[in-house]
Symmetry: C2
């Protein structure tokens, strides 16, 4: 293989690694979900970011332009859809933290939402990426909620789920070429949908 411009191989590799890590979790999941859709495996979508529009007008082309708006807090998880006829629901977050996953990454009403979906027998989990280790885990909502409930958290804003708990209870998601994060492979196994 030729390296144009005579760049050293090591530099190239470094760039590629950096580029891969630059592909954030949302992009990886979008590509994965698009793969699932294109192959009619599952229909799972990221919900649009909730935005509260305050002012809107029309531009010279007659198109509506929003000129003042604010991001608002989501009331549910970001991703949901259908897989093999089952309702599937998850939240995805990445963290730079090395020791664990800061719980306040998941809003309180998202936690409530997870409880509701679990009660209704939905397939429900978190996808957590540790950026520093470049590792992405699937953690069942049940195990996430068990941790929160048992730890008797004193301070929601300062608490985190230890990496060791996630390594023990969670499932490492393999990175692949097309199905960047083939999380349904894990869903098949742990919910016995095979």
């Amino acid at each position: 293989m030729n390296y144009p411009g005579g760049i050293k191989k090591s530099t190239i590799v470094k760039n590629i690694t950096y580029k891969n890590r630059g592909m954030n979790l949302e992009n990886d999941l979008n590509l994965t979900n698009q793969y699932y859709i294109d192959n009619e495996i599952a229909f799972i979508y990221k919900k649009p970011t909730p935005i509260k529009v305050v002012k809107a007008t029309y531009n010279s082309n007659g198109n509506r332009v929003i000129t003042e708006a604010y991001y608002s807090e989501p009331s549910t998880t970001d991703y949901n859809g259908i897989y093999k006829g089952y309702y599937i629901d998850y939240e995805a977050k990445e963290t730079k933290n090395k020791k664990g996953f800061p719980i306040n990454n998941i809003h309180l009403h998202q936690i409530n939402h997870l409880r509701h979906i679990l009660k209704e027998n939905g397939i429900c989990f978190l996808i957590i990426r540790f950026i520093e280790y470049n590792k992405t885990y699937l953690l069942k909502a049940k195990d996430f909620l068990d941790y929160i409930d048992n730890e008797n958290l004193k301070n929601y804003n300062k608490s985190y789920i230890s990496l060791s708990y996630i390594e023990e209870k969670g499932y490492l998601i393999k990175e692949k070429l097309l199905k960047r994060l083939d999380y349904l492979e894990i869903v098949d196994k742990i919910w016995r949908l095979l």
Copy 2:
């Protein structure tokens, strides 16, 4: 009952009717879905409106303000969630048309989405309100797609589903006080979830 200010009864009734009609379909569905959530019957949410943010800045309070953004086309239906463990998915539209429902109210990729969900055995339908008659129908996605496929539509932008077809194949949703549009009552019956 007293009518303050000596307004004639007929005027009051007219106002109430007008007010009810002013409660648009989205509001009615939000109230209904909130009732379902509060009573842990179902967890069905309207997805946020998709907005493409072009420019954002910070205001003097340090909050992020979006200063230029545009509405973008949704790739899925607006509502989805879980009911009795089943995946549920629908689009809701109101029309002032008296003869029928203009098909271009449903975007082409929403039609595709309905096909996908149906294939995956999701519970999937349209909720259509005829504003002029103040009547709201549930029409199964299957019957909607059958109509489109069989009518061999020549012009998507000018075609509509006749009111008589919707009256024949659809189900009239009763208006109630708290569960404004208790569409799950119909879902129970026609999908035999009772």
